[in-house]
């Protein structure tokens, strides 16, 4: 596989237990189409060689536009979908080769919060049952202990215990997301994927839920893998950021480095596209991405971004750049911007 080689982050010589979860050359390819009249099936490279280390108790944001593979990566990391190739390690355990039983046991530690956690839940179940379900399936304890834990979970996310008897439709968007968080935390995980978890919320509520996530991270020593399309939320919430484009990480860095001095042209153009809540700055001439995102079924040769990149040169149309470490930061570009 070209363009996916990367040194694990050994530069810091951090002890291995600082890394909660890591992937090496992880891929997820889908076959689409095919069939009697559809011609040969084509392959979508949704995740195409991702190598990443997530550190204990950090918030790692994965940012990218629709179709870049960020949601697929989050699901494959937890083995909610099977990877096509590559490896995933969680605290020293290789997940990809793990059997069904041990994987089920480990799943307690690896949880996910969706954009609308109720979309997949039974509307006829009371909140108490919704919270009790994951506890029962992992053999949490006696019915009394489960009831106590449900009350504790609800109060932990700032909701009153009386709500245990209510049904999902009786809650606002912000309250639903709190319940989704409580459910994900039921079995005391330490690695939580948040997939667009605050994206559907109004701004005043979004800040409340982000603050709740921060508080819970401190109290429960959680590590977040925070998937979002919203760069403003990333800057205010994440410790480190990975920028994804068409199945690949194109840049990884600490939030402040990445926003202050982006190395990849795509990172820079993404940031400049965010509308700024400051009317005095609207006259500023900002670089804009041209054209459309190429189809993940029909990737351009060379660098995947070259068709939209204002700085592309000949080599970019031919050679796929690997993610390289540059002064402690990682970027996949032949001509990184001034770091």
């Amino acid at each position: 596989m070209t363009g996916s080689a990367l040194q694990p982050e050994t530069g810091t010589a951090a002890p291995d237990d600082r890394i909660v979860l890591s992937t090496r050359d992880l891929t997820k390819h889908y076959r689409v189409g095919g069939g009697m009249f559809a011609g040969p099936p084509r392959v979508v490279r949704a995740v195409d060689g991702v190598t990443l280390d997530i550190r204990a108790r950090e918030t790692f944001a994965l940012v990218g536009e629709s179709g870049c593979g960020k949601t697929t990566l989050g699901r494959v990391m937890l083995r909610l979908q099977e990877p096509t190739s590559g490896t995933i390690r969680y605290r020293g355990t290789e997940l990809t080769s793990l059997g069904e039983g041990p994987m089920r046991a480990l799943r307690k530690n690896l949880q996910i919060v969706f954009q609308d956690p109720f979309a997949s839940l039974n509307p006829r179940m009371r909140i108490g049952e919704i919270l009790a379900e994951p506890l029962r399936s992992h053999g949490y304890g006696t019915p009394g202990e489960i009831r106590d834990r449900c009350t504790e979970l609800l109060e932990m996310v700032g909701l009153r215990r009386q709500y245990l008897r209510n049904y999902p439709h009786q809650f606002s968007g912000g309250q639903r997301q709190r319940i989704g968080i409580a459910r994900a935390l039921a079995n005391k995980p330490d690695f939580v994927v948040c997939d667009e978890s605050v994206s559907a919320l109004d701004v005043s509520i979004q800040a409340q839920v982000l603050n709740l996530l921060s508080d819970l991270q401190d109290q429960l020593k959680l590590t977040y893998f925070f998937i979002t399309h919203d760069l403003a939320v990333v800057r205010q919430f994440a410790d480190r950021v990975g920028v994804m484009f068409l199945g690949r990480l194109v840049e990884v860095g600490t939030t402040e480095e990445l926003f202050a001095r982006p190395l990849h042209p795509y990172t820079m153009l993404l940031m400049s596209a965010v509308p700024r809540p400051d009317p005095r700055r609207r006259g500023e001439d900002r670089p804009m991405v041209q054209g459309e995102i190429p189809s993940p079924m029909n990737l351009p040769k060379g660098c995947r971004f070259h068709t939209r990149c204002p700085f592309a040169r000949d080599i970019c149309r031919v050679e796929d750049p690997a993610l390289q470490t540059l002064g402690g930061r990682s970027v996949a570009c032949h001509f990184p911007l001034d770091g």
Binding site: E65, V203, S204, Q206, M288
Partner: protein, 336 residues
Amino acid sequence: MNVNDPILSVRGLRTEFSGDRGDVRVLDDVAFDVGRGKIVGLVGESGSGKSMTALSLMGLVPRPQGSVSASSILLDGQDISKLDPAAMRRIRGRDIAMVFQEPMTSLNPVRKVWEQVGEPLAIHQGLGRKAIRKRVLDMFELVGIPEPRTRLDAYPHQLSGGLRQRAMIAMGLICEPKLLIADEPTTALDVTTQAQILALMRDLRDRVGTSIIMITHDLGIIAEMCDEVNVMYAGQMVEQADVFDLFERPSHPYTRGLLASIPRATVARAARRMPSIPGMVPNLARLPPGCRFAPRCGEVMAQCHRPPDLLSVGDGHAARCWLHAAGAVLPEGEMR
């Protein structure tokens, strides 16, 4: 007609829905103007009434559950508030057009794009197919659709989200309407595509002079696009101001709270926790008796149990808050 008169002037707009548990007033005495060639923002959170304002102006509130009344809705001097549905149909698409959030749901998947984009011409101007096709091609060029000739015969699913929204804007503008209402036109789009569509709308205003109502929940879009802004909360206008005034001198505690709680991509994180507005938007069927924001307000005072009017805080700047009433007891340290 005086060119200084606004293209749209809304007064006393009130929209109600009847349901099992009685009537709910979703818009209460809404009033605002749109100047000619201006982009005017309606901003608010879900349930604030911003989209309902658009539907009420367009005559698209579903009947008989919904009912709309207004003292007047002057569109280029003509009061359209008392028109019957047939007369309203003649106005819609010709004099006022609307662009929605999700272009895919507004387009018929089995009809070619040019036929749909050109439909207002067939309805309002009775043009033939050849003339319509030519006009659609011109519009596709205007809104920056690449290879416009080959896109004419495309079906909606063959266009990307960004191109579909460009096509919808072309459809909105094809009869050269007096007013374009854009309801969250970029919310379903990626940020890079959003930047392109916003640039297009600004450009159309500058080149064609289109007057636009921009409905959004995003204060970033308001700051980038609008000349004037109306902030809505629980079915009411709570603050109206020139865009610079709004961002530099927000005068309603709700506006201040919103501005404080939006995450910013251009500013480094200052603290682990972000400022937020406590509580949530009130249920319109069970509104508090006085100021609708009072239960969430950090500056609440004795007067707030009575409903405040929009009070002037400066030239063309008003806020629905007792802090700005003469003789108001201001919280300590607060400057008027």
